[in-house]
Structure formats: C-alpha cells, structure tokens
Symmetry: C2
Subunit: 231 residues, 2 copies
C-alpha cells in the first residue's frame, strides 16, 4: 500500500493547516497508517484537478483518489477494517455524519471569523492575494474588520461548545474512554487555529481546553510537534 | 419482566408531554418493550421521591428504579441486549452522549421559550401555579412575554438545526437508514411541542419537517396518535 496525502500549506511546507486535512491526519494516525505528504497551496488547483477535486484533503491509495475528509474517513474504515475502528460501529458512523456537520457549522464556522486575518501572513504572495480576495468577497468586508472584535466575539464561540463541554463531564473523549474520529472532527479545526493564529480560543480551566491538550498529546504528540502557536 | 414508566401529564392523563419521557417512550418501542404508564404531575414530588428522583422519566423494572432519560436508554441497551440496539455499538453510544447534550441545549433549549406560555393551560390549577412561578423565576419575566416574539425568534431556532438538516441530505435518520436513539433524542422535544402547543416550529419543505413526519409514523404512528396539535 502506498498512501499519499495532499495537504494545504503556505510558505512553510512542514506546516499543514487545513482543519479538514488535520481530521485526515489524525484518522491516518488512528489507523496506524503512514502517508507521504504532498504539499499543496490554495492556487494550485491544476495539481489536484485530475483527482476531481479543487480542495484538500485528497488521499491517494495507490492510484485511487479519495476526496473530502468525511469520505476519506469512511474509506479508511472500510478499506482497513482490521485496524482500530474510527467510528466504533455503524451507529457511531451514522451519528458521526451529524457530528461532522456540527463540526463544520459550529466549530469551523465559529473559529473562521476569529482567525481569518492571521492566515494570509502564512501564505505565499499569490496565495495570500487569492485568499484575501475570495474570502473578503464572501465576508463582505476586509479580513481585519472581521477579526477586530474577536476578544468579545469569542465568548459566543466558547458558549457554542457547551454540548462538547457537558459531554466531557462524564467521558474523556467524544469516542468514550479513548479518542476516535468524533474527536478528530472537532480537533481538526482547533489545530488549524493553533497552526495559523496566536489567538486564544479557549481558556485554561475549560474542560474543552484539557480535551484539546489530550489530543495534542495523542500519537506521540503528533499535532503538538507540528509547528504552531502556544494556545 | 414488569416495566412501569412515570410520565408527566396535565389535566389529560392520556397526553404525556415531557420531551425526556418521549425519548424513553420511543426507546421502549424501539426495544419492543411495553411499559405500564403511571401518570405523574409536576407537584407530585412525593410520589417519586422513594425512587430518588424529583423529575421524570422514572422507569421501574420490577422493583428497580432507573432515573433520567439518558441513564434509562443505557439501561435498556444493557439489560435487553438481544433486542434491537438503541445505539448501534459502543461508538454510537459514546457520541450519543454528545448528541444528547446537543438535544438538551439546542433543541429543548431552543423550543422552550417558543412554547412555554402554552403549557399552563394543559395543567391542573396547582401544577399550573407551580409551573408558572418556577419558570417565571428562572426566566425573569412572564411566560407570555417570553413567547411574544416567537414568530421572529423561531428563525434562529430553525437555523440552529442546520447540522441535523445537512445530515438528512445523505441519510434518512441520525441512526442511518433506520432510526435509533440518536433520533429519539431530538424527536422527543418536537413531540413535547406538538402535544402542548399549536405553534409551528418547522416549515413544510424543511428536511427536518419530513424527518419529524417519519418519526411520527414510527411504531405504527405511536407519537402521531398521542393527543397533540397539527404542526
């Protein structure tokens, strides 16, 4: 088996930062699978077009391309059934679809406006220009205006994590006593923020902060050792 | 086996309305278990005090009391393992804890201020007085003030259901192709609303509306046949 993973990077090829790629990175580690990294930048659309995608992650298993982090997680679960399960059974996979949307809407969507202005500084000029233009068109204002009130706005984001916070009262991970893909869904966006932004999304003392620490330590500290900020 | 279920009712003993009891009712039906109903009203605290609870649902399995809808679901899954699974495996149970909190925070919490003023009309005078006093103390204003702007405020509630709505793009139920406890967690609050309030929480055409219809039809229309409003 030869696995290769297209990963979003900026000026530093060793600093992957996509929240979705980080979900896949954690899933691969969970399965005990190594993948060769193929660094990819925002404007390199033609590099992945043959794999029928314009976004990453794109996983290549031999010649076979698998596109989209949720599809990749399902593929890994089915293609490598003898390795540790990502979902803990079909019920976990089914409700995982909902958690994946919660992660996209609430976590990615809640973090994005808090860190977006920190991203262009990590990018090559051509990618920074593309990123700023496309995101400002979507947001309707300069990136710096979006993040300007983040010290206050982050309170709403923290509150939105209550279902996770309350769950951590009775179990260490969303997956139970040990982490699984449910955790990586939510952790990926936090790792994205850690890599590109010095902004403190979580307060120490928050159970979500401790949970993030445990995931930073997972797989011999894989996520913690990846270049990022102290958060 | 003799199962008995304390169920919250008002003036009509055949109109159980607690969102949490409805989770348990659906779970019992899923397991193919019949339980004798014990109607219970808000102020009858002494009736369930011997079972170490001041809230319902309280399930009695023989002499053994089980308290709290989440605990009951776990109990039923473990005590009746040969019957259809509520969680679809341990992964589904683990992440189900998170979905249960999402259901409490987002769904129960989002519906409550839209329907609360409709509840006292279903209660006996002593319970209506208790309900109004305790809830108005919590809310800091008359119940009618809380619901006054509901035609507008419901839009935020509908938006908060996006993770469910998006999930229904690719599967019929949170449990996958067929419903399981993940669905009952979210459906219970909708059935609560249907029983006590004529207010339309969902718009026809919303995938969440269609999903609710499917659950109203489940178990030979058990929830639909229970007295309630057309919603």
């Amino acid at each position: 088996m030869t696995l290769k993973l297209y990963e979003l990077v900026g000026t530093d090829e060793n600093r992957p930062f996509s929240p979705f790629v980080w979900r896949t990175r954690m899933a691969l580690a969970h399965k005990g699978l190594a993948a060769q990294s193929i660094p990819w930048c925002f404007t390199e659309k033609e590099a992945i077009a043959p794999h029928r995608s314009d976004k990453v992650p794109v996983l290549l298993d031999g010649e076979k391309p698998i596109v989209d982090s949720w599809v990749i997680a399902n593929y890994l679960e089915d293609a490598y059934p003898d390795r540790p399960s990502l979902f803990g059974g079909e019920g976990g996979r089914a409700v995982g679809r909902m958690l994946n949307w919660w992660g996209d809407v609430t976590v990615v969507g809640g973090i994005f406006p808090r860190i977006v202005a920190d991203i262009p500084g990590h990018l090559k000029p051509v990618d920074a220009a593309y990123f700023r233009k496309s995101r400002e068109a979507r947001l309707g204002k300069p990136l710096e205006e979006v993040t300007a009130n983040r010290d206050k706005a982050v309170e709403g984001f923290r509150k939105s994590l209550d279902p996770l916070r309350l769950t951590l009262r009775s179990q260490s991970f969303l997956g139970g006593a040990t982490p699984n893909y449910a955790d990586y869904i939510v952790f990926g966006p936090f790792q994205w923020a850690r890599v590109v932004s010095p902004f403190r999304l979580l307060e120490e003392g928050d159970p979500v902060y401790s949970w993030r620490e445990r995931l930073l330590d997972a797989f011999d500290g894989m996520a913690r050792q990846s270049p990022g900020h102290e958060v």
